[in-house]
Symmetry: C2
Subunit: 243 residues, 2 copies
DNA sequence: GGCGTGCTGCTTGTATCCAATAATTCAGCC
DNA sequence: GGCTGAATTATTGGATACAAGCAGCACGCC
């Protein structure tokens, strides 16, 4: 039989749903505290309950949502304590990762990193915080890629970073935060060039902790979330995944 | 299938299967490289594919098994690099955790920890390595419990520890390893009493790294695993979960 | 005799079905 | 009018049914 048109990568629906829901949670489209039920999501996404269920369990294991006893799931709250813990874990793991990376850096990667800093600096001059954020993200992604051979560490850091990205707008909407982060990146470069694991580790920890402070700047977080109704009204609209 | 008349504790079958499979993997009953298919496992455990599948996905997300494209799963290999990475992550995270814990220790917990060391010491005097292992495990579990309010950190450490437990026998079957680990625990106690986060962190890192060295003592690990046939022959026997 | 092609079965992915149960509502009783 | 309890609903957990894909194999062609 002809292999038919299997040219396109056949990504399982489960994965699509997972990615979609994750995006919705991280973007805030699904607000913290909002309740999620398999059936409604399945209808909304135009698939059956099975893949939705698997996606929900996966998200729950990552902490993005949490299982209620027998009432489905709800989007995880964002208590200050929880965010702090995630930032602290980032500080520790990314610190360790930078220490590892600093033992043997590819000069071309250093070049690349410098470019991102340069890009951020120029964006800062234009007071374009979105653009600064963009370059900073590339910077951190590239740093993380330096330890991609340590797959667990790499994955862990990626997950934690995605988790706090939810608050990116808040983080950099103050120019002072942007300034500090760029300066922090410059220090990271110096540590990398120095090639000293311990210094690199310490510098990175400080950097992430500064980012945490800036993220908390002027944001009041309620430890307890009010219970949002449920699925939003636009549930009726059959949004196909293929969009 | 008959609706089982499980009147007692209503633990979801999914969880039972998950726990069961995890045990089988960690105990080596399912050897690294061995292939797992939903259907066979479902038959073997006397349940349907649904809970088996969910358990498999969960195990995969923890890295205990890995998904083959569309061929099911296989028990993860145990290359030296992978074990090293896990031990290194433990060193970093448990180091950080001990630093956190050292800032404010409950004296009763210190008492408890001392008892476990005492127990291990006595077992060591009897050359009972299994017993030493038992007390050492309690010791580490108790330490980890000190940061249970940091749920992510706590969970992460618990997962990583479970992962390397697979090699416990090898780890402590040498008395020198047992000796070193007990001495390490004593140093940890001193660091805790000192109450200095940085010292505690360093001491713990050293301790876990020593444990790694001992775990690798005299063990030859093949980076590539040979492909074991599939499910073992006793698949036919209907082993009910309720056993 | 070697290699390509189609068949067959194993295995997963998804949908649907059924049962069990917690929450909710509503009616009857005090 | 408020409280208690039974019926109703909402929702998950598990089982099964069904489709689709890849692997291995055998057969036939060159």
């Amino acid at each position: 039989m002809m292999p038919s048109k299997c040219l396109e990568r056949r990504e399982p629906v489960r994965e699509q749903v997972y990615t979609r829901l994750k995006t919705m949670v991280l973007s805030g489209e699904l607000a913290p505290g909002e309740r999620l039920t398999e059936e409604h999501l399945a209808r909304e996404l135009g698939v059956s309950r099975t893949p939705v269920r698997e996606a929900l369990h996966k998200l729950a294991s990552e902490g993005l949502i949490q299982a209620l006893p027998t009432r489905g799931f709800k989007v995880s709250g964002e208590s200050k304590e929880e965010m702090e813990e995630v930032f602290e874990l980032r500080a520790v793991l990314e610190g360790y990762a930078l220490g590892l990376a600093s033992r043997d850096v590819d000069p071309r990667k250093l070049e690349e990193l410098e470019e991102y800093i340069q890009g951020a600096e120029e964006a800062y001059a234009r007071r374009d915080t979105d653009e600064v954020f963009h370059w900073n993200t590339r910077f951190h992604d590239t740093l993380n890629a330096l330890v991609s051979h340590r797959s667990r560490l790499h994955q862990l850091i990626a997950d934690l970073r995605k988790y706090v990205l939810r608050y990116r707008k808040d983080t950099l909407s103050y120019l002072s935060g942007a300034r500090r982060s760029i300066d922090g990146h410059k220090k990271i470069m110096l540590a990398l060039r120095l090639g000293d694991p311990e210094v690199s580790e310490r510098i990175m920890r400080e950097h992430v902790r500064e980012a945490m402070e800036d993220a908390f700047q002027g944001i009041q977080m309620s430890p307890t979330q009010k219970h949002r109704p449920a699925i939003s009204k636009r549930s009726k609209r059959q949004e196909e995944l293929s969009s």
